[in-house]
């Protein structure tokens, strides 16, 4: 019995790693550009389909496919911000919400038209079948461990990028005060686009892991968005390490809920989110 629970909780923590990967991009774009991209989850799913095509049509290894997708994702994010979102950003939050919401519906239905509603999955080969035995009947998948490590590493890298590099300083300056940043000669338009490019690189990484971890279909974008959203709000808006904590809390909540009844898995996640929102609206690790 103890082993069952230990396994379940460990699974929850690992799932938290995956959820952190979903959330990092949203945290970055929300923290810098002060809007929430409602199509965030759909962009993750869109990238999953791109990986599916690369691995099945070209027969590429999923790791290689992900590495190929990342620079493309950066350019896509850069272009999306520069040529579409920049036109509505800053002026009125309503418009950005509506544009990204419309994008979300367009992506979902585009994928539905192109690929049909069947669930898909990228095969990870030996990577997803290896398990590591920790003794006492406690086992954890190698791929789950790699995902969790990747989430921690990505948080650390972004933390360094934002707080230790030149471009990071510029991004923080624009995020703190656009007008002042423009006044001292920073091009906020360009920096926003770069930040969105980086956001899309994290989306590419998240897609690389989730496409192997579980099934996806055209309608699974909103679920990913809600997960990412709950993680960043629980973690504390704008706090990267908080996202890791938020991800683990959500992963654990779902694992514990799923242990009672599989249907409770998703509900337990939402309920814990609303409880955290009620008692600690600033999140677990607020930035300020």
């Amino acid at each position: 019995m103890t082993a069952v629970w230990a396994n379940q909780l460990l699974q929850g923590v690992m799932l938290g790693g995956l959820y952190t990967l979903f959330a990092i991009g949203l945290s970055l774009s929300a923290g810098v550009m002060r809007f929430v991209n409602i199509a965030h989850g759909d962009f993750i799913v869109l990238t999953c389909y791109a990986l599916l095509l690369l691995t099945t049509l070209l027969g590429l290894n999923p790791v290689v496919a992900t590495l190929i997708v990342l620079p493309v994702a950066f350019l896509f994010g850069f272009g999306l911000q520069r040529f579409l979102l920049q036109r509505v950003v800053g002026e009125n939050v309503l418009l950005v919400i509506l544009v990204t919401f419309a994008l979300s519906i367009i992506i979902e239905n585009g994928l539905l038209g192109g690929f049909g509603a069947d669930p898909q999955k990228v095969s990870g080969g030996w990577m997803e079948t290896e398990t590591v035995a920790l003794g006492d009947g406690i086992n954890v998948g190698l791929f789950q461990i790699v995902t969790f490590v990747a989430a921690v590493a990505l948080v650390a890298v972004l933390d360094l990028l934002l707080y230790r590099t030149n471009i990071g300083a510029k991004i923080r300056a624009v995020s703190d005060d656009v007008a002042a940043a423009n006044l001292i000669g920073l091009s906020s338009v360009r920096i926003y686009a770069i930040a969105m490019g980086i956001t899309f690189v994290t989306i590419g990484i998240a897609a690389g892991f989730v496409s192997i971890w579980t099934n996806f279909d055209p309608a699974s974008g909103p679920t990913r968005l809600l997960v990412a959203f709950e993680v960043i709000v629980m973690g504390g808006l704008g706090s990267l390490w908080g996202s890791l904590a938020g991800g683990i809390v959500l992963g654990l909540a779902q694992a514990v809920g799923g242990q009672f009844d599989i249907a409770w898995q998703i509900m337990a996640g939402h309920i814990v989110f609303l409880i955290v929102l009620a008692i600690r609206p600033q999140g677990l690790f607020p930035k300020y």
């Binding site: 919400i97 419309a102 367009i106 809600l226």
Partner: protein, 345 residues
Amino acid sequence: MAPRLILYIARALFAAGIVAMAAAPFLFGANHVVLLTEFMSMLVLAIMWNLLAGYADIVTVGQHAYVGVGAYAFFGFAALLDWNPYLSIPLAGLVAFVIAVPTMALVFRLRTAYLAIGTWVVAELLMLAAGKLNAWGGGSGTSVPISIILSFGRARAERLANIYWLAFGLAAVAMLATYFLLRSRIGIGLTAMRDNEEGAAAIGVNITYARILCFLGTAPFLGMAGAIITLQKLRIAPPASFSIIDWTVFIIFNVVIGGIGSFEGPIIGTIVYFLLRQYLAGLGAWHLILLGSFSIIVILIEKRGLWGLIRRGLGDDLIPIAHRPSAAFDGAAKPNISAASDNRR
């Protein structure tokens, strides 16, 4: 003179339209009455979403929550408790209101886009919870008993007419309520808030109060619309009663295309949607792709939608919501309508 004349003609047409709608079951065949019932239900949802997003600055993506709650509450009162079906409709609205109170307390801790997704989380949770209600058919839902349907009229034509008038009545009350709200002191505050939030707060508009009033005020309308929609669909089921596509996505696109933040926008958007729908329905997935792309184009080109374009030609609102200073106060001998009306946003 010419634009004034067109405006009066437009107002006369609008009034004629309302009269025709009130008498629709006498004028049109059964198929059209069914279509118009659906139109009135969608119109209520559009008016409510527009009031929140266009005026109170609360963009919700979780409006389907209250439609679903209304549907489930109606089924509970009418089918499970066997109460009067007519009475069950306002009671469904009351339940939606009761659900909206704690929801508001929670999601109002979030702002703008965060609030939008917060409402979505609540809707998702309510839909999952509805699937756990075994008396309501659990995850697969159940049909509305024949006895309830027959209580709205034994003959089909009579029943369709009665359900239509319920939907029409709700739409009319929704429109009147919005009109008087926007004409009231609170409405002036909301309009000021829509145009400039900091400015409105600085001159003493109580933004929080106005927001809470709007959020709680829309819930019963959405719940009652959910009950009336159940009478048309004759079924409740979590994914259908809480359908984000039907009760939120289409509504948002309708209002955006019609003209967000104006009284006429949701009406025009819903009319355009119903006129186009028969051509779009055959397109499958492309249907929503087209509507979504069109909405983005509208936002980029004319934020105030089709009504924004038409209004330039008319020079004034179809339904006069704005208060105007009197001519004496204005100082000008001839009030310049087009100048006075363009200072919004």
